[in-house]
């Protein structure tokens, strides 16, 4: 196969209210691609549409959501056109997902072994005994001590970090091509977070996984990702290689975000804050959604939403400042 592993083209997902009167453009005209073995960070604040984008990928959207337009090519074929029964063979097997809270994503009534073995039994029809054996091996792969005992235990007997590793074991159980991690470490302590991120990176290397990190934490992106896509009010405002964007952000929002985080080392200097609030996703401002908070706002930004401009071969930005004529 020649193209990228995942190619999202002009994808839009909207939430429609019960009467059809209010439309929220949760994901609006997003174009992205991801190669095998690569790590993509999707960064955004709450309400920016990053989780909706992930749910769209797996077609696990709530009933009020509609995929309005666009294509999602996975290994060359469009996921949007696939019938539900084919999607079920992809979910958890070809594309897997890790959710934020491991206490919510594990069933308290089943043993760890049953839950790790479930996708193997469902997708591969493996009998229970050998699926359990695989589960024990998977626990070892996610570095759980004494996997032979842990496999028979229940989630409440494990610590938060261990539970999240179990969720990781479930996600890689069927050797997926893409692993989506939605804020996988927000409920973990700093040192446990570092352990978990290293584990994910090792799993990625050993399985040649493509990783999608959904996070609001720019530090995780700096540590883990090759590519980054910054979302704001449903749109992708900037995308490109992580180093390039951290060194030379083209969009004022990305720049402001990077400047607003305290860094270890330069203590007690005033932070550059972003004024105002993130917009209400159901009623974003006209024009560029960032314009009310933008330090470099121009007249044009208030009325016209900027299209995606190429800043370099690999970096795009949705800002009039990046328009070729503006230079």
């Amino acid at each position: 196969m020649t193209g990228p592993l995942l190619d999202i083209r002009r994808l839009s997902t909207h939430y429609v209210s019960a009467r059809g009167t209010r439309v929220t453009r949760a994901v609006d005209d997003v174009t992205l691609s991801l190669d095998q073995g690569q790590t993509l960070g999707i960064v955004g604040e709450s309400g920016s549409g990053k989780t909706t984008l992930a749910l769209t990928l797996l077609r696990m959207l709530p009933p009020a959501a509609r995929i309005v337009s666009g294509e999602m090519l996975f290994e060359g074929s469009d996921l949007i056109k696939k019938p539900e029964n084919e999607m079920r063979r992809i979910r958890g097997k070809r594309i897997a997902m890790i959710l934020q809270d491991p206490m919510m994503s594990l069933n308290p009534l089943f043993t760890v072994g049953d839950q790790v073995a479930e996708p193997i039994r469902v997708h591969e029809g493996t009998p229970r005994r050998s699926a359990w054996k695989r589960a024990t091996e998977l626990l070892k792969a996610v570095r759980i001590a004494a996997p032979e005992t842990r496999v028979g235990e229940y989630p409440h007997q494990l610590s938060g970090g261990m539970r999240q590793r179990i969720v990781g074991a479930i996600a890689i159980s069927c050797e997926p091509r893409i692993l989506i991690a939605d804020e996988p470490t927000t409920s973990l302590d700093v040192t446990i977070q570092a352990q978990y991120l290293n584990l994910l990176r090792d799993l990625q290397r050993s399985h040649n996984l493509a990783l999608i990190f959904i996070t609001h934490n720019l530090g995780i992106v700096a540590k883990m990702c090759d590519q980054v896509a910054v979302m704001y009010a449903g749109r992708l405002v900037e995308a490109g290689p992580v180093k390039q964007i951290y060194n030379a952000p083209a969009h004022p929002y990305t720049r402001a975000l990077l400047e607003s985080i305290p860094r270890l080392g330069d203590s007690r200097q005033r932070l550059t804050a972003i004024d105002g609030q993130p917009p209400d996703p159901s009623a974003p401002p006209p024009g560029c959604a960032f314009h009310p908070r933008c330090p470099k706002v121009m007249d044009r930004c208030r009325s016209e939403a900027p299209p995606e401009f190429r800043v370099t071969d690999t970096q795009t930005s949705r800002c009039w400042l990046s328009a070729p004529v503006a230079r």
Binding site: E45, S46, D189, V190, T191, I192, Q193, A194, Q195, N198, H216, N217, L218, G219, I220, A222, K223, V242, K243, Y246, A256, L257, S260, I261, P262, R263, L264, G265, S267, R268, Q269, R270, L271, T272, A273, I274, D275, Q277, P278, R293
Partner: protein
């Protein structure tokens, strides 16, 4: 004033673990185990540590929500154990708190104005014109418009709600404010606003902070002194720059090496703790 505003000496807090029919005490959890620290007027003590290390218990003891099992806590030189009646009420007025989740810490049925002045109304008998005057000053201090007073909490975003909580904490002109993870529930683009506001208020009002957070960079940014807690003990305490830049204790070193980089070129030698 010369001495520290708040001083803790060899503070211990044990929680008994009870079992069986007669609730016999079978063990104790040493939540806080012999810690000492002090906060000077107008300064910030940052406390970092992982969950279960005792930082919240420490905050509760400072707020007098828990009584220490042993040790001495002094506020402006006065032993807290000796306080009663009027002097205890005076202490509670001088020490206020801002909590992590501004969605849970504000009463949804009260208007913002009443929320902010509630401590004033219950603690001081003021004429309503005076209360109004103080309310407007508090709103101005935290950067909220005057009309915010007549609205309800649900009409505000997370960052604005945290401003409301800060205004309430300031209403009695306290000497110390306990900040328990004040920005971790907020959006990234809002955090810098609140951290800057807290620092401006400190410069303006000379209030001291006990700043508890797990975000090491934020603690290093906000604090004059940092205390690192592990299993109920302070393993390292010192000036913020020194603790953040050249930590001495192996646990502090591991903790700071586990902190996320702010730039992809920033490489740290990671010390991964087992377990």
């Amino acid at each position: 004033m010369a001495g520290p505003v708040l001083e803790a000496k060899n503070i211990v807090k044990h929680f008994p673990v009870k079992r069986g029919l007669l609730s016999r005490e079978v063990a104790v959890v040493r939540a806080v185990d012999d810690i000492s620290f002090s906060i000077d007027p107008g300064k910030t003590l940052g406390v970092v540590g992982e969950s279960g290390c005792g930082k919240t218990t420490t905050a509760k003891m400072v707020l007098m929500l828990e009584r220490p099992t042993g040790g001495i806590m002094r506020f402006e030189g006065q032993d807290l154990q000796a306080l009663d009646g009027g002097s205890l009420r005076a202490y509670r007025r001088s020490v206020q708190a801002v909590f992590q989740d501004p969605y849970a810490s504000l009463n949804p049925r009260m208007r913002v104005g009443s929320i902010i002045v509630e401590p004033l109304v219950t603690n001081e008998s003021l004429a309503s014109a005076e209360v109004r005057k103080r309310l407007l000053r508090l709103l101005d201090l935290v950067g909220l418009p005057e009309r915010a007073a007549d609205l309800f909490p649900h009409e505000f975003s997370g960052g604005q709600r945290q401003r409301i909580a800060i205004a309430r904490a300031l209403s009695l002109s306290p000497k110390v404010i306990v900040l328990d993870e004040p920005v971790s529930a907020l959006d990234v683009s809002i955090r810098a606003q609140i951290l800057n506001l807290l620092r401006d208020l400190q410069a303006q009002l000379g209030v001291s902070y006990l700043f508890i957070a797990h975000d090491l960079a934020a603690v290093a940014h906000m604090s004059h002194t940092i205390a690192v807690m592990y299993l109920g003990k302070i393993v390292e305490i010192g000036p913020a720059e020194i603790v953040a830049k050249s930590p001495k204790h192996p646990y502090t070193q591991a903790l700071f090496s586990a902190a996320l980089p702010s730039h992809p070129d920033e490489r740290r030698d990671e010390i991964i703790l087992a377990g």
